[in-house]
């Protein structure tokens, strides 16, 4: 996402259009059928909207060890079956990659 798109996305979020979505690229905005007025986007944020922007739910949230807490919360929101499926998808993706790579000379797996 370019700098301009980031700003647009930030403003859309500030207006509450994308609060529930993390995917805030211009493409995603278009896909959702949202439209915006460039002049409105260029206007300074009112104090109340600036406060909303400051509490941006899409803002990265890391703990002191650098762990992405948004990812932890997302994972916790899934059911155990969905979590198992995520692990399985990863395993299958890795297997696909291994299938097209030549074996390492010292590989035993």
């Amino acid at each position: 996402m370019g700098k301009g798109e980031v700003l647009i996305a930030a403003r859309l979020r500030a207006y509450g259009l994308l609060v529930a979505r993390r995917d805030s690229s211009t493409t995603a905005v278009k896909r959702q059928g949202l439209c915006y007025d460039p002049q409105v986007m260029a206007a300074p944020l009112s104090p109340s909207l600036a406060a909303i922007a400051a509490a941006d739910p899409a803002k990265p949230d890391y703990d002191e060890n650098g762990v992405d807490l948004s990812l932890v919360r997302y994972s916790l929101s899934l059911t155990p079956t969905q979590r198992l499926k995520a692990v399985e998808n990863f395993m299958n993706a890795m297997a696909s990659v291994r299938a097209v790579l030549p074996p390492s000379p010292d590989s035993t797996k």
């Binding site: 762990v67 992405d68 919360r73 079956t81 979590r83």
Partner: protein
């Protein structure tokens, strides 16, 4: 290319009534830690009948020793030992563990496990709290590297209540 089907893997183990606890990365993932792993680790009860049930399950899954071109299956005498049996099955890579952390057996850890419903099955999973303790005790770089994510997951879970 092997296609991983962890639901089937758990189904076969459960259908054969194998007494086991899911440990390792999958245990962490099932409890909400955003970690990825490439195999399923199970700690099974080393007892005559359970080992026979495990043997049947492994046979149904076409389990053979991983990294051995002879494709050797696991015999009962092998499964009666406390060592790690690293298998490849037709449902994915499976580490069949007689003990973990230098000698902890199924009976030592069953009290530190909880039941989760996964793909319609009730499976025993080592608690995240105990997993953190064991990984800290192991102290290997690969285990220590996972600790911040596990601890963050515990904190978030407590925060959410």
């Amino acid at each position: 290319m092997a296609v991983f089907d962890l639901g089937r893997l758990l189904f076969v183990l459960s259908e054969e009534q194998v007494e086991f606890i899911i440990v390792g990365g999958v245990a962490a993932a099932l409890q909400g830690a955003p970690v990825l792993t490439q195999d399923v680790d199970i700690l099974y009860r080393i007892e005559d009948e359970n080992v026979e049930r495990l043997g049947r399950a492994l046979s149904r899954l076409h389990a053979v020793a991983r990294g051995d071109s002879r494709n050797l299956p696991f015999g009962k005498s092998h499964l009666m030992t406390t060592g790690h049996k690293l298998a490849v099955t037709d449902a994915g890579a499976l580490d069949v563990l007689g003990s973990i952390n230098d000698g902890l057996l199924y009976d030592d850890l069953i009290g530190s496990s909880g039941e989760l419903e996964v793909t319609g099955l009730r499976v025993k999973v080592l608690t995240l709290e105990r997993l953190v303790e064991l990984k800290r005790a192991l102290g290997r770089p690969k285990d220590l590297a996972m600790l911040p994510v596990l601890e963050a997951t515990l904190r978030e879970r407590e925060r959410e209540g």
